[in-house]
């Protein structure tokens, strides 16, 4: 499978200046709103520590809580299915729908179904799938994956949306008024809710104690998807379990504040049991999560509540766009999750970071994201997945910097100018440094030469 070239993709994103500036500023605004909201809560840092501890406890007792959830959900009247991977998940959905003769599915936002590539699987089998979240719908109509886990179409300007809607749902191509576009999508989507055979959501949380599926949304589309059709399917990654309903308050206080800088989502819906005469199916999906749980350096990534705060704050993400990562999960959290799916394909992603650590500091569940990025780089180097040019540069650098004589020969080229310095000083890609930056002029003397001349008593 071809490696994702993040640097190359980012270069294209940067060339579209209007889009870049909007994208950077829009997400920075979310970050600032998040700061303001968190500042209003004196116990914010305690909440983060508590949320992290609850997640770590749950993940280290995951099998027990999953079984408790299954018992409670079953007792509530839901059907619980266990999917070991994406293929099993998709097959479950298809089989459940077939058993009901269901042909149309209205679904709320779910990164898990993107991860499983469920939509093309179902569409190839004659199922009509309608994304009902505005951002997801824009992306579906434009035949693009979401670029952000919370705001899927954030890389698009409203004029882009006007173009997509004009081509697909017949809006006025010249009208890019946000309210007009949102209302048009609403009117377009509404009939599908009424005629759909099945509805689907993901889950923000699954409460073991009560068997409840908790979905946090702002548009009401999840509730319509669940409550209108006679069949409801919830797809849930196994890491979404929390032990008790009382723990939910900790996470709900942090989720939307971290994500969008709003105190809470418009709706926090608890789906516990099927309505009379309907069926509720819950698919618990592993798809690599158990394996990740067994990785000593990386299992903390399973604490993630998918708020996207790490993406909003990431200076690299804001300037390269989610699609440049070529994966379901982009930005800092994507960088540490994606290699577990395919190390070679995603081997450039852990290098799409300055290791600045802002992601770790905003994370509401205290995932040590930048430390995991650092660790992934070691795994990638160990498994010989570094690009040749970098591998070669590091070997040369390692040799030169470990040998004072070689090092001095390399840097003590007084007045010769940087072009005569060995390539390792600029990490073997001098051209890349100089493309948009001046290189520093070499001084007459290195510090060491100055020291010997002025200070040494030897």
């Amino acid at each position: 499978m071809k490696r994702i070239d993040h640097a190359e993709a980012s270069s294209k994103f940067i060339k579209a200046k209007d889009h870049l500036d909007f994208h950077d500023q829009r997400l920075w605004d979310l970050r600032q709103k998040r700061d303001r909201e968190s500042e209003h809560i004196p116990e914010w840092e305690e909440l983060r520590a508590l949320a992290s501890a609850i997640k770590e406890h749950t993940l280290t007792h995951l099998a027990d809580y999953l079984e408790e959830f299954e018992r409670k959900a079953t007792a509530n009247g839901a059907h619980v299915h266990w999917a070991k991977d994406a293929a099993e998940h998709n097959q479950f959905v298809f089989d459940i729908m077939c058993a009901h003769g269901a042909k149309t599915l209205v679904k709320a936002k779910s990164m898990l179904t993107d991860e499983c590539e469920m939509r093309p699987f179902l569409e190839n089998r004659g199922i009509d799938v309608m994304e009902t979240d505005l951002g997801e719908r824009i992306q579906q109509l434009d035949n693009e994956p979401p670029s952000h886990i919370v705001v899927p179409a954030v890389h698009k300007l409203r004029t882009d949306v006007a173009r997509v809607f004009a081509q697909t749902i017949g809006t006025d191509p010249k009208n890019s008024d946000v309210h007009y576009l949102a209302e048009s999508q609403r009117q377009h989507t509404r009939p599908y809710f009424l005629k759909a055979d099945a509805g689907m959501t993901g889950a923000n949380f699954a409460v073991a104690e009560t068997g409840t599926v908790v979905v946090c949304t702002n548009e009401g589309n999840a509730d319509l998807s669940v409550n209108l059709p006679s069949l409801y399917i919830a797809s849930i990654g196994v890491e979404k379990i929390i032990p008790k309903i009382e723990h939910l308050g900790v996470f709900v206080r942090m989720l939307s504040r971290s994500a969008l800088g709003s105190p809470i989502t418009q709706l926090t819906s608890h789906f516990r049991a099927p309505r009379d005469g309907t069926e509720m199916h819950i698919i618990l999906v592993d798809n690599g999560r158990s394996e990740r749980l067994g990785m000593p350096d990386f299992w903390y990534s399973l604490k993630c509540i998918r708020c996207g705060a790490c993406m909003n704050t990431c200076p690299v993400y804001r300037r390269s766009g989610g699609l440049s990562y070529g994966a379901t999960y982009s930005g800092p959290i994507g960088v540490i999750i994606d290699p577990t799916f395919n190390l070679r394909k995603y081997s450039s992603l852990p290098f799409a970071s300055t290791l600045n650590g802002s992601c770790t500091s905003v994370c509401p569940v205290k995932i040590n994201i930048h430390e995991q990025i650092y660790k992934w780089r070691q795994v990638i180097a160990e498994r010989a997945q570094l690009p040749f040019v970098k591998q070669e540069a590091m070997q040369v650098a390692g040799k030169v910097l470990a040998n004072p004589k070689l090092y001095r020969a390399a840097v003590e080229t007084a007045g010769a100018g940087i072009e005569h310095l060995p390539r390792f000083m600029m990490y073997n890609r001098l051209n890349a440094w100089g493309r948009q930056r001046e290189v520093p002029a070499a001084p007459a003397l290195t510090f060491r030469q100055w020291y010997l001349k002025n200070r040494s008593k030897q």
Binding site: A7, S10, S11, I14, W28, S38, E39, P42, W44, E45, V316, R319, S320, F351, S353, T354, L355, N356, G357, S358, T360, S361, Y374, W376, R377, A381, E382, L386, K390, M394, Q395, A397, G398, L401, A402, P404, Y407, F424, M425, Y427, N428, R429, A432, W433, R435, R437, E438, V439, P440, A442, P443, L445, T446, F447, R448, W450, Y451, L452, R455, S456
Partner: protein, 247 residues
């Protein structure tokens, strides 16, 4: 107090004036400073690239050069961070552990160890924007991070505010990364340069004549950007200001 000066490779090669200012400042503050002559680098370029195997010999040399000193002081937050948190390629002997523990970034050494707050010789009659490198800020935690809900503090401001004539301006995104990131600056050149351009423009718009930082690597990148952009903004290391540089 037995203190060794570690001058990072890029400071040695490109910015000797920063090494000189660090040495002179420490001496002014009454510290006897040794400069081990066989020093090269802390191993960070290889370590940050995931190349532990390639970093091991350089890290071993670092330990050898700096073993036995009570403190190892360096004008670089990211090197300090590497030594303290990531000097993992070399065998973790008692000596290695001692060197890792003894290593301090200049600002935290002056602020926390020497506890000096007066620099009567220092005067810098200019408007400056402070750039805290990400390792200094988020790993060494030398100032309040904008992401964390904690009371304001800033060790570099504590020190700089004692310099006569200095004026501060604050850019709109004071602690966003400038995009240097070591090897990131060349392997992710498009984003790195864009971040650098945005950073220097932010300081320029805030009215800064100088960008001052405890991290020269950030400044090397930012200066390269500013020069290419044709901006008049200037760059100076905090050691130079504290040591009495006037411009």
């Amino acid at each position: 107090m037995k203190v060794a000066l570690f001058v990072p490779c890029y400071v040695d090669a490109f910015f000797p004036e920063v090494g000189i200012a660090t040495l002179e400042l420490l001496e002014r503050l009454g510290v006897e400073v040794a400069y081990p002559l066989e020093q090269t680098c802390c191993g960070q370029p290889m370590g940050n690239s995931g190349c532990e195997k390639e970093a091991a010999a350089t890290e071993a040399l670092f330990v050898k050069n700096f073993a036995g000193f009570e403190y190892v002081v360096t004008p670089s937050g990211s090197c300090t961070h590497h030594v303290r948190e990531n000097l993992t390629a070399v065998r973790q002997t008692k000596q290695t552990k001692e060197v890792r523990k003894a290593t301090y970034e200049l600002v935290e050494f002056v602020h926390d160890v020497l506890k000096v707050r007066e620099f009567p010789w220092a005067e810098f009659p200019h408007t400056v924007g402070l750039h805290n490198g990400c390792a200094s800020l988020r790993a060494l935690h030398t100032a309040k991070m904008s992401e964390i809900n904690e009371p304001f503090f800033s060790k570099p401001i504590d020190l700089l505010s004692k310099v006569k004539g200095i004026r501060f301006v604050t850019p709109r995104r004071p602690d966003e990364c400038c995009g240097f990131g070591g090897t990131f600056s060349v392997f992710e050149e498009p984003v790195s340069a864009k971040m650098g351009y945005d950073k220097v423009m932010d300081h320029q718009k805030a009215g800064a004549e100088y960008i001052v930082s405890a991290d020269m690597s950030c400044l090397m990148h930012q200066r390269g950007c500013a020069e290419r952009m044709g901006l008049p903004i200037k760059f100076i290391h905090i050691a130079q200001i504290l040591n009495g540089a006037r411009a």
